[in-house]
């Protein structure tokens, strides 16, 4: 693990081209500087790395499977592989980052964890690690998301965490993040803020990327072992962008590998109800970082929408903004309907129920299938499992008169 490898040209630490930076209140600056220092020391300490790798193996269940989806492959006429992050303990890629950060929190002597969560997966992962390490944990979650993801709220409570309902603004991930930052400002001395995506002030985008790059590192190794070559393309969904960044990062310096992100078009990019930051965001500064944000002309952050609570965020991690800026990665927007159809498609074709977030990546694979040749290897990162979404998808199906559950036998 070498965090310095592949880092794009930057003007200052924590910068990805013009993006990134550390736009934080002075009350948080000492805590961020302390974190940066502790992180650098930890990553240079072989015993820390060994602890992290042991937890990934023995607790999270890594390496995750590199699964050849044969029925998808024959339908689409190319080799389709799924990187099965849904099989990790707690059911999503979020645990990779959380285990790393909580090890770091313990090393720094912090007794209390806080986190923001959208879909609830990061909150569940943080509550899980808090239980494992005997730390207290408070998770901030938007009221709207608590309703959409009620199952995950209960899971967090079972794990011993306190879930704090956030009712300000749009009562979603954006507001949960603001509230977690406010809480950290109050208690920076004894509290570690576990950010769940490649966003926020430096050093978070770097830390989260480094703890998620295990996804791409494994893909590289598994693909080499199977085919003796690199994949043709990698597809992953982007909200803040952590599973995509972890997937892409080890391949940034491999120009033959296409890097493709699927963001949320909600009800359509021709409506105001979407979260397509890469397509429609403008550069700005929010949540501690310079990146792209959906906002109005005067810089007020726009209310965004996606069926997926995990992609329902008006910004994007700064390194993604830079990858798009340089053309190294490409991003496309997927509507709620396309994602719901892909959700049902994977269930039916492969017997795997994906998270609605990951379904955006699957939908993009389906749309782009014509671009891939029979010999190509296309890897989709299945960032999480879909149990948490079943009730919401059922409601969506009824509201929209979709037929997702027709039985082939009859």
């Amino acid at each position: 693990m070498n965090p310095a490898q592949n880092t794009p040209a930057t003007s200052k630490p924590g910068r990805f081209g013009p993006y990134g930076g550390r736009y934080a209140a002075e009350t948080l600056m000492p805590a961020l500087l302390e974190l940066e220092k502790a992180y650098k020391e930890a990553m240079a300490d072989p015993s820390f790395i060994a602890d992290y790798q042991r937890l990934l193996r023995d607790y999270a269940g890594r390496p995750s499977l590199f699964y050849h989806a044969e029925r998808l492959s024959s339908e689409l006429g190319t080799h389709v592989y799924l990187k099965r992050e849904d099989l990790n303990h707690t059911g999503a890629h979020k645990i990779n980052n959380v285990l790393g950060q909580v090890l770091l929190a313990r090393r720094m002597g912090k007794k209390r964890l806080i986190a923001e969560t959208g879909a609830g997966q990061h909150g569940v992962a943080t509550a899980t690690a808090a239980a494992l390490f005997g730390l207290t944990c408070t998770v901030f979650m938007g009221a709207e998301d608590m309703e959409r993801q009620a199952l995950n709220v209960y899971r967090m409570e079972l794990l011993g965490a306190t879930v704090t309902k956030v009712t300000s603004g749009t009562a979603t991930l954006k507001d949960a993040t603001s509230e977690a930052m406010r809480e950290w400002t109050r208690r920076a001395d004894d509290t570690y803020y576990v950010i769940g995506s490649v966003m926020g002030p430096h050093p978070y985008p770097t830390i989260v990327r480094d703890f998620q790059r295990i996804i791409g590192d494994e893909i590289r190794e598994q693909c080499q072992a199977t085919y003796g070559r690199l994949p043709t393309a990698l597809i992953a969904c982007v909200g803040g962008g952590s599973n995509a960044m972890g997937t892409f990062y080890p391949f940034i310096d491999e120009p033959t590998v296409r890097l493709i992100g699927a963001e949320a078009a909600g009800e359509g990019i021709d409506t105001p109800r979407h979260a397509a930051t890469m397509a429609y965001g403008k550069p700005g500064v929010f949540h501690g970082m310079h990146s792209l944000f959906l906002q109005d002309q005067t810089g007020q952050i726009a209310p965004v929408y996606s069926i997926s609570a995990g992609l329902d965020y008006p910004g994007i991690g700064p390194e993604h903004a830079w990858l798009q800026h340089t053309g190294r990665a490409e991003y496309a927007a997927i509507t709620d309907l396309e994602a719901v159809e892909a959700f049902a498609w994977l269930a039916r074709q492969e017997g795997i129920i994906p998270a609605i977030e990951s379904s955006h990546a699957l939908a993009l694979l389906r749309k782009m299938a014509g671009e891939f040749k029979p010999d190509d290897i296309v890897v989709v990162t299945l960032s999480g499992r879909g149990d948490k979404d079943v009730a919401a998808i059922q409601a969506y199906q009824q509201d929209h008169g979709l037929l997702l559950t027709d039985n082939r036998e009859e």
């Binding site: 736009y23 002075e26 600056m29 406010r182 700005g284 500064v285 906002q295 005067t298």
Partner: protein, 302 residues
């Protein structure tokens, strides 16, 4: 009361030969602070949000506050996601945004106030507001309209390389902020600072606190030891008693949420613009009186 002859102990860092203030200052904020130091007085710095509850009322309140003993007025430019603010100011921002108050309206408000006051006016805003307007246009407009300085909670010194020189070229001050956790950073944060250094009294977000931190005097001494510019204390200060007690140690006192809460409550109770303004005027006068009493008591006690 307004003409105390002697310099108060504690304002000594503001000496005429401090590098940042060698020449006669042209910025209203620096002029006002120098004048207060000469008179041995402390700065009262009330805060309101532009457009809260509407533009006309916030203008009436601003005018009254300026006539009720405020030395410097801090005007918040409403933001959709004010991450350094607590519920009181979040609610004020939401009230102002509900009818579309923008940075343009905030500048308009200052332009109107400038017809009758030369007291310093500062903006409190989040950095995205500045970025979206464009740095050059923003600071040129500040200068043109009469905004003397800005306070930007999410713009730490480390991120001011580009914006600092542009602000300077328009003679607009970017206020330095320090907190009780700044510790070894205090001297780099205050050196070359202009105007006052904004000292955050309490950890966390803005909002009234019934009791201030017990360690405030440690913080006060730490900042005093290094800061070449006056020190103003904010975050959590709400009562005349607190103001009276703090007068001895600080060069200025910032009161925000306590004012904004009164505006919100008065508006909810159906007060009209003049009634609201009158009520806020009485409250700010009480703060003024407390600040001057505290200043005098410290002089006599010392």
């Amino acid at each position: 009361m307004s003409d105390l002859p002697i310099k108060v102990p504690g304002t000594s860092p503001v000496t005429p030969d401090t590098p940042a203030t060698t020449a006669t200052p042209t910025n209203r904020l620096e002029k006002k602070l120098a004048e207060l130091a000469t008179q041995g007085r402390k700065a009262l710095i009330p805060f309101i949000v532009a457009g809260d509850p509407d533009l006309r009322t916030s203008q009436a309140i601003a005018r009254t506050i300026l006539h009720s003993g405020a030395d410097i007025l801090e005007i918040g430019v409403p933001f959709s996601d004010p991450s350094a603010d607590g519920p009181t100011i979040m609610a004020a921002d939401a009230r102002a945004l509900a009818h579309g108050t923008s940075i343009v309206d905030a500048f308009h408000l200052v332009r109107e106030l400038r017809a009758e006051t030369q007291k310093p006016i500062l903006f409190l805003l989040y950095y995205n507001t500045v970025v979206q307007m464009g740095l050059d246009l923003f600071f040129a407009t500040c200068r043109d309209v009469g905004v003397d300085g800005i306070i930007v909670p999410d713009l730490p010194l480390e991120e001011q390389d580009e914006v600092g020189p542009i602000a300077d070229s328009h003679d607009v001050i970017i206020t330095r902020m320090v907190s009780p956790l700044s510790g070894p950073r205090l001297s780099e944060l205050t050196v070359n600072g202009r105007g006052f250094v904004y000292c955050v009294a309490a950890l966390g977000v803005t909002g009234e606190r019934s009791e201030l931190s017990a360690d405030l005097s440690t913080f006060e001494m730490a900042v005093r030891a290094v800061s070449p510019i006056p020190r103003a204390l904010g975050f959590g200060i709400s009562t005349p008693d607190q103001v009276r007690e703090l007068a001895a140690g600080w060069d200025g006192i910032i009161v925000g949420s306590a004012i904004v809460r009164r505006i919100g409550e008065g508006h909810a109770a159906g007060l009209n613009a003049q009634q609201l303004a009158d009520q806020l005027g009485i409250y700010v006068s009480s703060l003024r009186e407390a600040l001057d009493e505290g200043t005098l008591a410290a002089l006599q006690g010392g």
